[in-house]
């Protein structure tokens, strides 16, 4: 689908990416920064998923009645791996945020910067 001569899905992906980047850069709360990072990740995953789309393609599962063309399965494998990586990054970040909160009593970056 086209919007102003651009693919609509790509427009959505870029917008989502920018929303995430804005959250990551502009928010002061570490947790919100992490959410922003997750939104950015989602944008990239969505971009990869759209890459696997084939016009009129069947799912690449060999059962009776399926015929070519097939949707490409590789992007899905990539996104699955990407999600695993993103979850690990989120887990490590959350653990670090917990530790920061336990030590300094705050997770607002402007308050953290005022600490000696």
């Amino acid at each position: 689908m086209l919007l102003f001569g651009l693919d609509l899905d790509y427009v959505a992906v870029v917008m989502l990416f920018c929303v995430g980047l804005y959250m990551l850069v502009a928010k002061s709360n570490l947790l919100k920064k992490l959410l922003g990072l997750n939104v950015m990740e989602t944008a990239v995953f969505a971009f990869i998923v759209t890459a696997g789309m084939v016009e009129g393609g069947d799912p690449p599962i060999m059962v009776a009645g399926t015929s070519a063309p097939f949707a490409s399965p590789i992007p899905h494998a990539m996104v699955l791996t990407g999600i695993v990586v993103a979850v690990s990054v989120t887990a490590v970040a959350l653990a670090l945020i917990v530790q920061i909160h336990a030590h300094f009593g705050t997770i607002e970056i402007d308050e953290l910067k005022e600490l000696p």
Binding site: F47, M78, T81
Partner: protein
Amino acid sequence: MTGPWAEALPWVIALPLVGAALTPAVAVRRPRAAGFWAWGVLLVTAVLAAGLVSELLARGPFSYELGGWPAAYGIELRFDHFSAWVLPLALLFVVIVPFSWRYLDHVMPDERRPPFYALLLLNAGGMIGFCVTGDLFNLFVFTEVVSLSSYALVAVGGRGLAAFAALKYLFIGAVSSLLMLFATAQLFVLTGSLNMAEVSLRLAEVGGGTAVMVAFAAYAVSFMVKAAMFPVHVWLPDAHAIAPSPVSAVLSGMVVKVGIVGMLRVYQIYYGAEVLELGAFNLALVWLGAVSIVMGAFFAIFQDDIKLMLAYSTISNIGYIVLGLGLASPYAVIGASVHVFNHALIKATLFLAAGSIIHQTGFRTLSDLRGVARAMPQTSAAMAIGAVSIVGLPPTAGFVCKWYIALGAFEANQAPFGFALVFGALFIFIYYIRMLNAFYFQKPVHAAVAQASETPWSMRGPVVLLASLCLILGVLGGIPLTFVEPAVLDLLPLWGP
């Protein structure tokens, strides 16, 4: 035709990764055993890596198809001349791990050792995988293995501040990894393949265009962040200074090189395809490299904390490497590629020596550490050798590469950058002179510094060994050249001016 060692290619990645997973189980009753286990695993890995290099020297680059899938469909592991970097990498780990056995006594309680060594093994496995993979998506996965273990390793020793430094590193690192994933996806959309060689071939058919350029730009920015070049270096100093010293040695010496090796890989794809005119980008690299050298040195001069000073010096040295790559003349690229290795060696020497001094005295600033050379002569001598090497004075390891890069600047008719390089070296010399002056020629201000004893042998051995290697490689500078020269000359006929 491949020899028996070619079969070891998947094992050199699998061994440290499996070893990492098993570490907590091995050390469940005796946490201190984790250190010996990690060392053993890395030792075997280093032997395998040596076998792979011998195969490379005997028969040239070779591949391994994972799971028996042909390269265009499955994941291909490829061992070429740039991959030979895994041997020094594994060997440096073998030297650094014994150092951490005793060093960790002051840093963390015994029960936290198994996770620490597991992370170190993961880091090693990820970097080895990064160097030998021939698949773009696999490259991303190994980058994330390296990055994630690095974030955790920064935080492992300390509490609040370390966690904050690690989180800052994580946010910037995660965005750069995302850019890399995006670029990978972009190339996949354009070419329908993830295999590097295949992508390069198909890119030639696709031709140039905005999308190809966007993918290149995303890769370039991503790897610049990983390598901590000047405008995007902000995560490095805190993370590298606050981590335990063996970790600083790993991060500063090897993990930042992930960005450089990645850049070389992307160059291989794009130069092979000849779709983009990269002259302007190379010029940008040269300028960024020159600015990194000067700014790294400039910040380092004002540091009092020795580890922070060493961390800023890493930014300068990455600047040298990037400058050499951007100059794109044979001498410069050879010098830069050799510096990838030599800087790892020198920085490991410096960080381990600095770690020993901090460990024995409890102080970490230059003003507190005055006169420490009298109490710790051997460690200080190693530190001095490291300092002379990193400035690039003959006859040390640093001289060879910087000389080559400077020659390359004149070869590429970019003489001003040759002078910038020499000027940068002088700048760097100033702050190392400051350090040596404080260590050797000033009177101790603290009793603890005057009465400090030398480190135990398990710590002093690695430091002395690394320092002597800095000297030996200065004299026998040709050894790394054997690996780098064919790789660079393969690349350069395609390399634009």
